[in-house]
């Protein structure tokens, strides 16, 4: 078996992703401020993007843009473009979601004069 | 971004277009076009027909939608002599900037940092009126020793945040003169 250190070294990207994800999840679950919740959501989504992008990494490969005048292309020379494509889409989606979320928060603020969940719930129960 | 530019251009020139005005207008556009096109070529680095055509189209398109944004002062062909003034000014400014930064660098590594400073906000009045000149002046103030421009208005009134009492002593002074020379004020 490999030593723990080696495993951690070769899997650090995954450990980082999990750590970030949990930070985001915690923020979403524990914070009562709606904006902070949104930030938590953003962190959560970012962690998944990190995971994807790190899947695409290849040792000894460069960014997936063919060098000028390249004639023979070897798949090993370029990092995997697919995760980047997917994450570009995911980023756009998360930005769009953020936009809609901010719009909702603004509307909520207009209605309740607060973005604290507890106060809003108190108001709603009345 | 304007939807119907030809109309708005017409609106901006309500007088009858004289031939001279027309000529100057075309030259204006041409200068802008070549400025943008040059920028495109620099950015693109692709000199094939397709990309050059794209560049030409893009430049024209930008002129079409953003005609009104181009500061008139940037059109240098009106007064070629100012190029020399600009050159002088930039050199002078660089020296000043380096001086300023050297002073700041020294300050930063001082132990009793706050003892060597006495921040204040001072007001200035310049004779500059041209917005571009005022802008250059304001940014130059920000870049030079111990001063940051806070508010500027079209009447040439400045307020400046200084880090110690000496910093604002030379203002407006030489800087104003040099900038005035560029913009003919």
């Amino acid at each position: 078996m490999h030593s723990l250190g080696e495993i951690v070294a070769s899997h650090f990207n995954y450990i980082v992703y999990v750590a970030i994800m949990m930070v985001g999840l915690y923020a979403m679950a524990a914070k009562r401020n709606l904006i902070k919740k949104l930030i938590g959501l953003g962190i959560f989504q970012t962690s998944i993007m990190l995971l994807y992008v790190s899947i695409g990494a290849k040792k000894g490969a460069t960014i997936p843009i063919l060098a000028k005048g390249a004639t023979t292309v070897n798949a090993g020379d370029y990092i995997n473009p697919l995760p980047h494509v997917l994450m570009l889409t995911a980023i756009v989606v998360s930005v769009a979601t953020l936009g809609v979320a901010l719009a909702l928060v603004q509307k909520i603020y207009k209605n309740f004069k607060s973005i604290e969940e507890d106060e809003i719930l108190k108001e709603l129960r009345r | 971004m304007r939807q119907s530019i030809p109309m708005s251009v017409q609106k901006k020139t309500p007088d009858q277009p004289t031939p001279a005005r027309k000529m100057s207008f075309l030259l204006d556009i041409g200068m802008r076009f070549f400025m943008l096109f040059g920028l495109w070529v620099l950015l693109s680095g692709m000199l094939d027909a397709f990309h050059l055509a794209l560049g030409a189209l893009s430049s024209a398109f930008i002129i079409l939608i953003s005609y009104s944004f181009f500061p008139k002062e940037l059109i240098l062909w009106r007064r070629p002599s100012c190029i020399w003034s600009i050159f002088i000014f930039i050199l002078w400014l660089l020296v000043e900037i380096i001086k300023a930064n050297a002073a700041m660098l020294r300050l930063v590594f001082r132990k009793d940092i706050t003892a060597h400073m006495e921040p204040d906000i001072v007001n200035l009045q310049t004779r500059l009126r041209n917005p571009m000149a005022l802008t250059v002046f304001a940014n130059s103030i920000t870049l030079t020793p111990g001063t940051i421009s806070v508010t500027v208005n079209g009447k040439g009134e400045f307020s400046v945040h200084t880090i110690d009492s000496k910093s604002a002593e030379n203002l407006p002074g030489e800087m104003e003169r040099k900038i005035g020379r560029i913009f003919g004020e």
Binding site: A67, A96, A103, Q106 | L36
Partner: protein, 253 residues
Amino acid sequence: MKKLTLAAVVIAGLLLALTTLDFPRWGDPQTPASMHVSARFIEKSLEEMATPNIVTAVLGDYRAFDTMLETIVVFTAGLACFFILRTRMTREDLEPAAPENDPLDLAGEDLVIKTVARTFIPLIQLFGLYVLAHGHYSPGGGFQGGVIFAAAYILLAVSHDMKTALRHMSERASHLLSAAGVLLFAGIGVICMTNGVNFLDYGGLAGILGMSLATGHSFAILLIESGVALTVTAALIMIFKLLSSHGTVQEGF
């Protein structure tokens, strides 16, 4: 309660981290992810669509449908923000009156910022177009170009004010442009269909335009990227206007 949440999150994290030990090592070039589908993208994209930027090739061609939907997501977000936030709809604020004074009046307080913004806006716009047009060769494309273009507009709104910004792009224009972008993208797909091939099969377009297959694909990617850029620009501007003016699309900042 917070401690409980924390404990739950930590436990979930540990579990998740444990499962990642099964993952391939970082940077391993022999993983299924690197070998299976992506290899073809890397090896064939230049030949099939004359596009050195493989990301653009995958985004704009192999997985163009995803990209179309992503554009639609942006379009949806713009529409959604409008639907959620927009208040007080009158005819005037949809089509603001023609400017009486110079819209780019430089006098007043924020002279420096206004002037700098004015200088840079056309340049930023040109750069946006450059990014859009060179997505085939460098990290760019419709989305990035659109964002930069929208940023130029935001710069205008921030350096001047919303009224000035609205004179340069009315609410109506941003709606129309954002719809036009997705229509352009999906329309290209449909035009391909008229040549008897499937939706978004750019070979159909190449046939119509009489281009070689790879050139046709490359050209089609540029077209759809333009659609993406249009929608992204317009929708981001729309969202910005709504959020910064609290839905009135009049003042703000």
